[in-house]
Symmetry: C2
Subunit: 342 residues, 2 copies
């Protein structure tokens, strides 16, 4: 899922996104709650209509942003008070309010308020956040079932697994969250600065314990090689700002690894970013032109790079799906990692 | 002609431009000479190939930019020395060099080095600049004919009429430039701060004296109402950065006048910019969404506004052409100006 933080996958139109092979996008509840606000989105007929994206939308819970982006957050059993990173105004998120906001926004898949911990966090803190997350999950599920929908279609609420960087807490989180009976589960609180082995270990541990017949979603991950590794560990869904964020910075992906296309070495390279890529960028423009656009500060540069990078990610996921269907995922993965320079 | 200053009509792809009804664009010689440079453009196979624009390209002479944007320009009979606005490096443009640069770039229509004067400029200065422009036009035509092409298609060199803000100098400029025998003529040095009546007067005077069977091009103009007025005065071609520049600033055009779509008054206006417009922006997005994009600093905002504005300009020019063909231009013009709030 490409990330449309503020209701737009940065620089791209919905039509272009569809051309990259994207079928579902993520919108950030925290950002859209602050601007333009859930009531405006409701009166627009929901986030789909407002933003013009015709496929499914997943909205996150805002938990991650509140704890990483907002100022001075104060947690109580009822929820979390924070100050907007935009204007310093004070807001209070409860599990119930977060469900109501997401019901108004109208995403197809919505998430309960959760509490990640930074790396490194001690066991006491992780335990407390884990307990809070599970408690909030119960409240979220209750209010989700008890309140009517604003839109004339159903929404799906997933569970989120926290537990910090402690295997026993992750196990406990899986156990208690699965007991609540969600139709799918997200693994949260990872890829926040911990060593990669720890991320892989805890992802694998969580995925292995989660029900096999329910989607498993690793939140906020990651680099192409991370996705490939985590699919091997049992993950089915990902979201990440990386392809668009690095694209805006002049970094583009190829099967051989990342390329800094804005570098001077490409100034007279008239080949496309990737000869084998069929995206609009690679069909029409050279590395030299894209490098010129970045060099000259032209907005078309970030656009063309973002378009290519999302296409790269979607192609990678498509290849992984086909390899799984054809029972050759292990071989495909080894082949990808052999070529791909991390 | 939308303006692709640095080889990109800001925020848009060539494909999108074609969808606005654009058939020809302008590229700035001054900017592309400095970055990425004529030799790079030549080795890319020309500006068309480099930028991916399949229609005709007109390149200006760089004269206007040298005298308005560059630092410390010093004019001699041979040309003009200036310092790059990018890095302060010193360059020397001669009429011959400007032809060579544009031959390398490979635009379909190219322009000779000229010397506009700022408003207000005294008669002595305007006379000197006019004499220089005519002298340079002779040199340009000579070198244009004598030197071979770099690309395997022909290019067309137009003449430029200067003469400052003095009717007799404009008359002299037309007379002497037409005598040189160009296949089309541009009226330059207007819309640089002079009162609108002076601009109209000198445009009308120049256009009336120029040969009726050759294209008449008014450089760097202008607002929608200016275009309509100047067509009435005999002008056939225009270029202007306005639709994209104001679009990036959140201003959009409708048949009733300009609308500042980023204003708060549009925050819950779920209608398109213009109900009657068939552009991608108006078919898919509301004023409220576009206002949100500008408010949130999303690049998609400038994109959608630029796309709409260029479509507006092209539709306006198309209507004018049809009205001329159908012998009802006067009526059409009066009708447009009655509705359009300037």
């Amino acid at each position: 899922m490409p990330v449309g933080t503020q209701g737009s996958v940065k620089t791209l139109t919905p039509e272009e996104l569809a051309c990259t092979g994207t079928t579902i996008i993520l919108n950030n509840t925290y950002h859209l709650y602050l601007r333009p606000g859930p009531d405006l989105l409701l009166s627009a007929g929901g986030t789909h209509k407002f933003c013009g994206w015709k496929g499914p939308i997943l909205t996150d819970s805002g938990g991650y942003q509140v704890f990483s982006l907002a100022d001075l957050n104060t947690v109580s059993g009822d929820g979390v008070e924070f100050q907007s990173h935009l204007d310093g105004s004070t807001h209070f998120f409860t599990p119930e309010k977060i469900i109501d906001i997401q019901k108004k926004m109208g995403g197809d898949i919505i998430m309960p308020l959760d509490m990640p911990v930074p790396y490194p966090a001690g066991k006491m803190d992780a335990q407390k956040a884990n307990r809070m997350t599970i408690n909030w999950a119960k409240k979220s599920l209750k209010i989700f079932k008890e309140t009517p929908d604003y839109h004339n279609y159903s929404q799906t609420l997933l569970g989120i697994i926290q537990g910090g960087f402690f295997p026993d807490l992750r196990r406990l989180a899986v156990e208690e969250t699965v007991e609540l009976g969600f139709p799918g589960y997200a693994v949260g609180g990872l890829s926040v600065g911990e060593p990669k082995e720890i991320m892989y270990e805890l992802t694998g541990l969580s995925a292995a314990l989660l029900p096999e017949d329910k989607p498993r979603y690793l939140m906020g991950v990651g680099k192409p090689e991370d996705l490939v590794e985590c699919i091997a560990l049992g993950i089915d869904m990902f979201d990440c700002v990386l392809p668009t964020r690095v694209g805006r910075n002049g970094w583009v992906y190829t099967e051989y690894g990342r390329l800094v296309v804005k570098n001077a070495e490409f100034k007279d390279d008239f080949t496309p970013i990737d000869e084998s890529c069929g995206c609009y960028t690679c069909r029409n423009f050279s590395r030299a032109y894209i490098r010129h656009l970045f060099n000259a500060g032209e907005m078309l540069g970030p656009r063309l790079a973002s378009l290519h990078n999302i296409t790269f990610y979607q192609k990678l996921m498509n290849e992984a799906r086909n390899a799984i269907k054809n029972n050759c995922f292990g071989q495909w993965k080894a082949n990808f990692l052999r070529h791909y320079n991390t």
